[in-house]
């Protein structure tokens, strides 16, 4: 009986788990157990516990599919599929230039696959057009961290450091639903009464502040920036700042101080709805003795001012002297399984492996040497995700698109436009293990491997590289993406090596990253198999960097930048009576577009359909009852949802999780306006109206409880 030590297929917390053969008679081939590890300490959430369900009898894809004339799919041989793709690429390049072929990657791909995808794009396709779904979920935090710290690593400290904290301020993250085992690290702050959660909704995470465990601030959607400017104003005005730290480790304080002079508490209250006494209490608590951490998530980032909002949070942390110590800090909560590693090794349109800038001649030189090519043949920067998707099938845009590890018809903003855009393509090739909603739009679908069927590495939210290990043979017919890329590269007569063994690909990645910001050069699968605590940068000869900023920040002078930011009017605000502000988010039971978790019976049974959370008063004003079906509409689209009332949401706000398909996709309503710095879209504040559908189909439980 063999056990395999690996990590969860889902979020960035990458809980350690053990996979072992299931007892006879089990519908699933493997049994999943939590494994002791500094992050999850043996715990798993419902998603992790049930992850084995997708390895058994499912609607798994086991052969390449071609779209047929009648709109269905037929199975074809791999050679046929790959020949056809290579031919189409060649033709598109000849007729429309190399940038007519594009790749849309994912933050769930292993480091090895993400790296190889970036290399394949630049060398085999010769295209600049590669970006990924991480643009939807981390780019603003990354841009802010790079601007302020000179380096972007989600948590620049080990997650266990949080255990000793007495104050933790969380903005825009609902980790109680998205990565529940993380909560064990918040127990200290809760016990000290210092968990402070900022969310327009009384989310599961906000409820952790109950019973004296802390404070929940409930600002109006889209006002996080003003809230943070107000907190900065108070800590500066009340002289709660760490003057020594500011003097020795930062630059730009004078301009920052001037920039927040205009945000006195009463003004902040009038914008956010958060009373001044609460603002003052929070500011003073953050400055109190004992460990203090500030953590931000998608809630602050998924706005057109997301980079500035994340920057304001960093400024707050810096003036309090939190980063760079052993008991305090600032961090951002990475979302996707390999959201961190996925943005470091070349699938971002402006980057090369090692978190290098693609426009930097030295970076190009270095990577070209590792790839064995002339730097001149590496294309320049491409287009960020939203822009690339908008270009599909348009003049000068992408005409042939590869999608890997992403389900854009659900996860992209303004998803209706994206659905239309996909139909404009000459060719859409989707690699997935299920016929995802995006795969349904494909001309060719390629079946690939699941987490327990492959070797590789992931980089968790702490910048710690962990090993993913194979526990089970894949179904006949499914292939590794490394194999697919190698086969296509061969057909396209591409320069460079395309190894099939993930360990070899990792070794190449390590060399390519050497000397970069995210330096993996001292790591290998072999070393990782010793369970070394592999926090990057991990250059040759080092033992890794658990705490990134102890001595210096990433800028040349070693100092962090205090970057003044300005609040600007929000693009979408209700203007008509009856309008609500839509905020989107996640459920405990589902991961991302739900392509996996909606197939797990236990998860789907408890969250089978889209439910719209609204305040009971809001529901009553519109004559809506709990359990009633409604449409949620705006000029971008219409979704169908079932009403769930909750006093935990602000009356002018409506919450939809985005995990559901077809006309239950919340992103049919969200805006594709983007942040000018990070190109990350505005998911969080769309203006909508709600309407009863008429036919009332109450839930059984609702009917019974009257």
């Amino acid at each position: 009986m063999t056990e395999t030590a690996t990590h969860c297929p889902y979020c960035a917390f990458q809980c350690a788990m053990t996979l072992s053969p299931a007892p006879a008679g089990s519908p699933e081939p493997l049994t999943v157990d939590g494994r002791d590890f500094p992050t999850n300490r043996g715990g798993l959430c419902k998603k992790g516990w049930t992850s084995g369900a997708l390895l058994g009898e499912t609607d798994r894809l086991t052969a390449p599919l071609f779209r047929t004339a009648d709109g269905g799919f037929e199975e074809v041989e791999w050679d046929v599929a790959l020949d056809r793709i290579a031919e189409a690429v060649r033709q598109s390049r000849e007729e429309h230039g190399p940038d007519s072929v594009g790749i849309f990657g994912g933050g769930g791909l292993t480091n090895e696959k993400a790296y190889q995808l970036g290399k394949f794009a630049r060398l085999a396709l010769g295209t600049s057009r590669i970006d990924y779904n991480g643009r939807f979920c981390m780019s603003s935090a990354a841009a802010a961290a790079n601007r302020s710290f000179g380096v972007d690593r989600g948590l620049p400290f080990p997650v266990e450091d949080l255990d000793a904290a007495t104050t933790v301020l969380i903005l825009g993250s609902n980790m109680a639903d998205t990565m529940p085992p993380f909560l064990s690290h918040l127990q200290g702050a809760r016990a000290a009464g210092g968990l402070i959660v900022v969310d327009p909704r009384r989310s599961s995470t906000a409820r952790l502040t109950d019973d004296g465990a802390g404070l929940h601030l409930q600002p109006a959607p889209g006002t996080d920036l003003e809230l943070l400017l107000g907190l900065l104003h108070i800590v500066i005005a009340e002289r709660l700042v760490d003057e020594t730290f500011i003097a020795e480790r930062t630059t730009g304080y004078a301009a920052l101080r001037r920039s927040v002079a205009a945000w006195w508490p009463e003004r902040v209250q009038s914008v956010t709805g958060v009373p001044t006494d609460l603002l003052r209490r929070v500011a003073r608590r953050l400055a109190s003795r004992g460990g203090t951490y500030i953590l931000t998530g998608r809630g602050v980032e998924q706005h057109v001012n997301g980079t500035d909002t994340a920057t304001a949070a960093i400024n707050l942390a810096l003036v309090l002297g939190l980063p760079g110590s052993t008991d305090s800090g600032y961090g951002t909560m990475t979302g996707q399984g390999n959201g961190q590693g996925g943005r470091e090794h070349g699938q971002k349109c402006d980057q090369l492996p090692g978190y290098r800038k693609i426009v930097d001649p030295a970076a190009r030189e270095h990577v070209a040497r590792v790839w064995g090519v002339d730097p001149a043949i590496i294309p320049g920067p491409g287009l960020p995700a939203v822009e690339m998707l908008a270009s599909l099938g348009r003049e000068g845009g992408v005409r042939t698109l590869f999608v890997h590890g992403a389900n854009v018809v659900i996860s992209a903003p303004n998803a209706g436009e994206v659905r239309d855009a996909l139909t404009r393509l000459d060719l859409l090739v989707v690699s997935d293990f299920f016929l995802s909603e995006t795969a349904r739009y494909a001309d060719i679908v390629l079946p690939v491997l699941q987490w327990a069927e492959e070797e590789g590495t992931m980089t968790n939210l702490e910048g710690r590289v962990v090993r993913r290990r194979k526990a089970i043979d894949p179904p006949a017919g499914a292939r590794s993406e490394l194999w697919i890329l190698a086969e296509l590269a061969r057909r396209l007569e591409a320069p460079g090596r395309y190894d099939l063994d993930p360990a070899l690909v990792f070794d190449e990645l390590a060399r390519a990253s050497e000397g970069g910001i995210a330096d993996y050069s001292g790591l290998s699968h072999e070393l990782l198999d010793t369970e070394v605590a592999a926090y990057w940068p991990f250059p040759v000869g080092s033992t890794g960097t658990p705490r990134l900023f102890l001595d210096r920040f990433g800028h040349a002078d070693g100092r962090a930048r205090l970057v003044p930011v300005r609040a600007t009017a929000h693009p979408e605000r209700p203007t008509e009576p009856g309008q609500l502000t839509l905020i989107t988010g996640r459920l405990l039971e589902h991961y991302q577009s739900g392509s996996q978790t909606r197939r797990v019976a236990e998860l789907a049974d408890s969250q089978p359909e889209l439910r719209a959370e609204i305040h009971p008063t809001t529901a009553r004003d519109r004559g809506l009852a709990d359990g009633e079906l409604i449409t949620v509409e705006n000029h971008r689209g219409t979704v169908v949802a079932r009403v769930t009332t909750s006093t935990g949401i602000r009356p002018e706000t409506i919450f939809l999780p985005f995990h559901f398909a077809d006309d239950a996709s919340a992103n049919l309503l969200t805006s594709d306006a983007t942040d000018p710095i990070s190109a990350m879209p505005e998911f969080k504040t769309a203006i909508v109206t709600v309407h009863a559908i008429g036919a009332v189909a109450p839930l059984e439980t609702v009917g019974a409880s009257v």
């Binding site: 939590g34 300490r41 043996g42 715990g43 798993l44 959430c45 419902k46 516990w49 109680a176 639903d177 529940p180 085992p181 993380f182 909560l183 064990s184 127990q187 809760r190 599961s204 109950d210 019973d211 109006a220 500066i236 005005a237 009340e238 002289r239 004078a254 301009a255 101080r257 001037r258 002079a261 205009a262 006195w264 508490p265 009463e266 003004r267 209250q269 009038s270 914008v271 956010t272 709805g273 958060v274 009373p275 001044t276 006494d277 003052r280 605000r573 209700p574 203007t575 009576p577 009856g578 405990l588 039971e589 408890s606 305040h615 008063t617 809001t618 009553r620 004003d621 009356p651 002018e652």
Partner: protein, 540 residues
């Protein structure tokens, strides 16, 4: 071909609004499309006047209220001249004259001269009426200057005032405040909190009469008294008495009122509202009323090259009327609208000099929210608040809807005046969370929940959660795995008597582990009521 000559913009006034305008226009200066000259009467960098009282009592420091850096602006090519007054505008020559004798030419002139504190009619306190005949008589000396006040009498406006007040507060002296508007009360609260003895003298029945109704004002009175402030209502001030110090100088001694009260004190703080500093416009022949009269585009009715923003600007839609009938209205007197005007006008100028479209309409202001700043005290109002719940219909006009909550005993009062669910006005005293929510809804023009009591409940203590007793069967105990108390209880009945067993059976407690003590409590509760469950059946 030569590039076009930069447009010469002269900004008069370097307070918060002027500073914002300069900063917003900076990119055009850097790009060489605008030559900007800034003239400020005060020396030093512009600062946030809203916080002068805080500065006075030592709650904040000078550097913390500075809004812009003159040297930085100079470094970017702005000609910043501080400590110098503009004393005349020559509209023919398009120049402004400075009190150092120099001229500056302009293509566009922006007046951001702000406001000065009103000096009430008081025997013993001299004041200048800045109408055109007086100004003509006094000449340049009355332009951009303030009247000298007797020793021991001050206003709360600039850094020098802050210093005077700071000394009195630090010495825990008796301060008499004349006027119970929002600024006077904010100052009174701060001074009282920092140890001064404070008396507030005012004319009406209750404080903040322009902003509060009787209910709100009465509740606020109680709150102020509870903070040790003496309120002297119905007391129209008539004059001041002075005494002679040992060195022969005279100094404020007492304020006396029409009903014969003498209120002795060490310092008299005048807080009787503000008036636009419009004398420069008056002498230049621009139309003025409550301020410099400008249209919605912030352009003077009289001279299309001259603009006004902030506290000195009286915005009236110019519908072609040129008669001398009173126009009505007044500057908002608040900083938010001034900043929005500064941003808008700078954007307009930038669009003009770059030849691009500036389509945004000028900022339309709702009635302003007035909020009493002060820790631990809360009074906010906005809009039209005079309506009462039972007001009758007058002709065809439906009265607005009014919802009211009054609990004077506990210092709480809320009035919400709405039409179609949208606030026309509100008063909220002693209910900070309701205030915050109502303020935000008013600013946004948002709809109120039809159940208005929802807003009152925001100030209720958090719902009590029975943490000592097991929750109902539907309550989620393990959030990580969404396991309910009922499921855990069922598992216990099936023979799982330890936290670990229950974890194996239900996954409760197998995520973050934060609920293990609650699972233990459920086990203890089951054991206490039912003894032990049947042993778990062990299958081979």
């Amino acid at each position: 071909m030569h590039p076009p000559r930069p447009v010469r913009v002269v900004l008069v006034g370097f307070g918060p609004v002027g500073a914002r305008f300069a900063e917003e226009l900076l990119p055009e200066v850097v790009a060489g499309r605008v030559d900007l000259t800034v003239v400020g009467a005060e020396s030093g960098d512009p600062y946030n006047r809203v916080l002068v009282a805080e500065l006075a009592v030592g709650l904040t420091e000078k550097d913390d209220i500075v809004l812009a850096d003159s040297d930085e602006l100079r470094g970017s090519g702005v000609d910043v001249r501080t400590g110098v007054r503009v004393v005349a505008i020559d509209r023919e020559a398009r120049t402004v004259l400075l009190d150092d004798g120099t001229d500056v030419e302009y293509d566009r002139l922006v007046l951001a001269t702000g406001a000065r504190a009103n000096i009430p009619t008081l025997s013993g306190v001299a004041r200048t009426i800045r109408d055109s005949s007086t100004l003509g008589r006094l000449g340049h000396a009355a332009i951009g200057t303030d009247d000298a006040l007797p020793t021991g009498v001050t206003v709360v406006r600039d850094l020098a005032d802050a210093e005077t007040i700071g000394r009195a507060v630090a010495a825990k002296q008796h301060i008499v405040v004349l006027g119970a508007g929002v600024l006077g009360l904010e100052f009174a609260l701060l001074a009282a909190r920092h140890g001064a003895t404070v008396s507030v003298v005012h004319t009406g029945a209750f404080p903040m009469p322009r902003n509060l109704d009787r209910g709100g004002g009465s509740v606020l009175s109680r709150a102020l008294r509870a903070r040790g402030i003496t309120l002297l209502a119905h007391s129209p001030a008539e004059g001041i008495a002075v005494h002679t110090e040992d060195d022969g100088t005279t100094r404020f001694d007492a304020l006396y009122t029409a009903d014969g009260k003498h209120i002795h004190g060490d310092l008299l703080v005048l807080s009787c509202g503000v008036g636009a500093r419009a004398e420069l416009a008056v002498t230049a022949g621009l139309r003025t009323e409550a301020g410099i009269v400008v249209d919605r585009d912030l352009r003077s009715w009289t001279d299309s090259r001259i603009y006004a923003i902030g506290d000195c600007a009286h915005i009236v839609e110019n519908d072609g009327q040129t008669d001398t009938a009173r126009l009505g209205g007044a500057p908002a007197g608040l900083i938010g609208p001034g900043w929005r005007q500064a941003e808008w006008l700078a954007a307009r100028f930038a669009a003009d000099v770059t030849g691009t479209e500036h389509s945004d309409a000028p900022p339309a202001e709702r009635a302003s929210v007035v909020m009493l700043k002060g820790e631990g005290i809360d009074a906010v109002s906005a809009g039209a608040i005079s309506a009462e719940p039972w007001d009758p219909r007058i002709g065809d006009v439906e009265p607005p809807n009014v919802a009211l909550w009054a609990d004077p005993e506990h210092g709480r009062y809320v009035k919400m005046v709405t039409r179609d669910g949208v606030l026309e006005g509100f008063v909220s005293v002693g209910m900070p969370r309701a205030s915050a929510e109502l303020t935000m809804l008013f600013e946004r023009g948002g709809e109120l929940p039809s159940d208005r009591s929802l807003l009152l409940r925001l100030d209720a203590p958090d719902e009590p959660v029975a943490s000592g007793t097991p929750a109902g069967p539907e309550a989620i105990i393990c959030t990580c795995n969404a396991v309910t108390a009922g499921t855990i209880s069922d598992a216990w009945h099936a023979g799982n008597t330890t936290v670990a067993c229950i974890g194996k059976a239900t996954r409760a407690g197998t995520g973050c582990g934060g609920c293990k003590d609650r699972i233990e409590r459920i086990i203890a509760d089951r054991e206490a009521t039912l003894g032990t469950p049947p042993a778990l059946e062990v299958t081979a």
